[in-house]
Amino acid sequence: MLLVVLAVTFLAFASMNFLGDPLVNILGPIADESSGPEFAEIRAEARAEYHLDDPFPVRYARWVGDLTQGDFGRSFKNQQNVRTVIADKLPVTILLMAYAQLLAIAVSIPWALWAASRAYRFVDKASTVVSFGMLGIPVFALVVLLFWLFALYWQIFPTRFDDSGLGPRLWSLTLPAISLAIPLIATYQRLLRTDLISTLQEDFIAVARAKGMSTRHILFRHALRPSMFSMLTVFGIQTGALIGGSLVVEQYFGIPGIGRAVIEAIIRDDFPIVLAVVVIMSVLFVLINFLVDIAYTWLDPRVALND
């Protein structure tokens, strides 16, 4: 797993360095030798500052070494410390993604339980069609649609991000979080419903029914936990999609998170920021999937024995 993170950083760093001259990106047109000797000194300074004269492996090793110290380097453009930029923007992105996941789980689990306990009846089939439809709307179309409906037409949610306190912040993040949550809800609902239906065929469910336990008790206390494996696996994988979706959502709703920062950085060829975001997102992705692995042992005590 650590190896994968290392490979990701290497790939990102290598592509940044070999596809395009970093010096051009730092200095712009004056990086070119032909732009005149008067800039030679500036070029030399920049080369020295960013260690551009060192061979590639050395630069990579230094960059990774700095990373482990929490040093992401400096922006090519405005000399800002990348760490400050990230520390400034990461919290709101994490908040947004956590909010979306929470919403998705809070909606999809009751929905799946409701549908599974009415499996193959009309209402279940109808709800399956709805969840399939929810998967068909790309996030970029969804944000416009929801914004129009909820912020302009019905005017339930504010039109812009409000950072004046935790309450307003959460309230103004609700619509963006819903946009991110809708495809997640559909994905989770479909998986969980299928697994629940097969769990409900198990003997121990019949035993619980023979004990006279209520349907509610059986669904929540007996069927839910053994049915959550696929959903949990996908929870980890969907984090990747969530990161992509947060770029769109942050850009559209004007949320000052790292999604927006990375798009700006890409447009301005500000590689250190892009690299930092790629690394952080990959680490986050790997970390969440690691937590998912741990959660398996909580879901099923038998897993612990096999390890």
């Binding site: 490979a7 709307i137 179309a141 990747g240 990161i243 770029l247 790629v278």
Partner: protein, 295 residues
């Protein structure tokens, strides 16, 4: 729960009900979906010769004018014909989606099959590469590659194709692993077939079937990905595209409030197209999975 509630299997019952023809088994919804996708493709292909307004011509309709005969989807904030924009926008979306999935299938498919068949070191390296690619946030990877390679139709397609390599490769590898163990492959080997022959004659046909379902799903993913890039303003530099169209119509609150149709029509078209591709892909997968079980 599974006591003998169902009648015991009757071997003659199968003969009485002949299996439905493939096209019937795929169902009505499948053909509606395919019909819609073909309609969009047809319109996109024929766009230059159809009697459409120039999508870039401003002032064709009034500012944010509503739909009317002749201006079916209305006009956008600069008076361009939204219907024409949508049709022309389909061209880039579909081409990118198509090239991307072809690249993904060719590269990912062949790496996956070879890895699954030969195993060993090559498999280890390939599997590790897939895992690495998959742990990149996909969209950030796409942005990275397009930024570095350039924002042309070709490079955008390639970069989205690179994204498709890992998932396609994984599936191809898994499928190959299954089939490489099957009796007919063993039989072919005993009969003296060499690796190349086994791969092409025995493995490939069996891996291609599930891949075709993945192709449709993959195309929908690629279309969405291109739309997302365009929405963010980092797709094809000055081309028309659904994502860009929706962004332009939907990013200014006042425009969206006065003329939502300029955004809602392309949103509807994207929705139906993605839905159709997903649905058709899903049906294919279901039908072929069932067939595999009966093998």
């Amino acid at each position: 729960m599974t006591e003998l509630w169902l009648p015991s299997a009757d071997p003659t019952a199968e003969d009485e009900k002949p299996p439905l023809a493939l096209w019937r088994r795929l169902g009505f919804g499948f053909w509606v979906s395919v019909g819609w996708v073909l309609l969009v493709i047809g319109l996109a292909l024929l766009a230059p010769i159809l009697p459409l307004e120039d999508p870039n011509a401003t002032g064709v309709g009034g500012r944010l004018e509503g739909p009317r005969p002749g201006l079916w989807f209305g006009a956008d904030s600069t008076g361009r014909d939204v219907f024409s924009l949508t049709i022309w926008g389909a061209r880039i979306s579909l081409v990118v989606g198509f090239i991307a999935i072809v690249v993904g299938l060719l590269v990912g498919g062949s790496i996956g099959i070879l890895a699954g068949y030969f195993r060993g070191l090559f498999d280890g390296v390939a599997s590790f590469a897939f895992a690495t690619l998959l742990s990149f946030p996909a969209l950030i990877l796409a942005i990275l590659i397009t930024t570095l390679l350039g924002r042309t139709v070709f490079w955008i397609s390639i970069s989205l194709g690179i994204l498709a390599i890992a998932p396609v490769g994984r599936l191809a590898r898994a499928q190959t692993l299954v089939f490489a163990e099957k009796e007919f492959v063993m039989a072919a080997r005993i009969l003296g077939a060499d690796d190349r022959r086994i791969l092409i004659r025995e493995i490939l046909p069996n891996v291609v079937v599930p891949m075709s379902a993945l192709a449709l799903l993959g195309m929908s993913i690629a279309i969405v990905a291109e739309g997302t890039l365009a929405f963010l303003g980092i797709s094809v530099a000055d081309g028309l595209s659904w994502g860009k169209q929706i962004f332009e119509a939907g990013s200014r609150a006042t425009d969206l409030q006065t003329g939502p149709h300029a955004a809602l029509f392309p949103i509807g078209v994207v929705f139906l197209t993605v839905l159709s591709l997903n649905f058709a892909g899903d049906r294919l997968r279901e039908v072929f999975d069932a067939k595999e079980l009966s093998l």
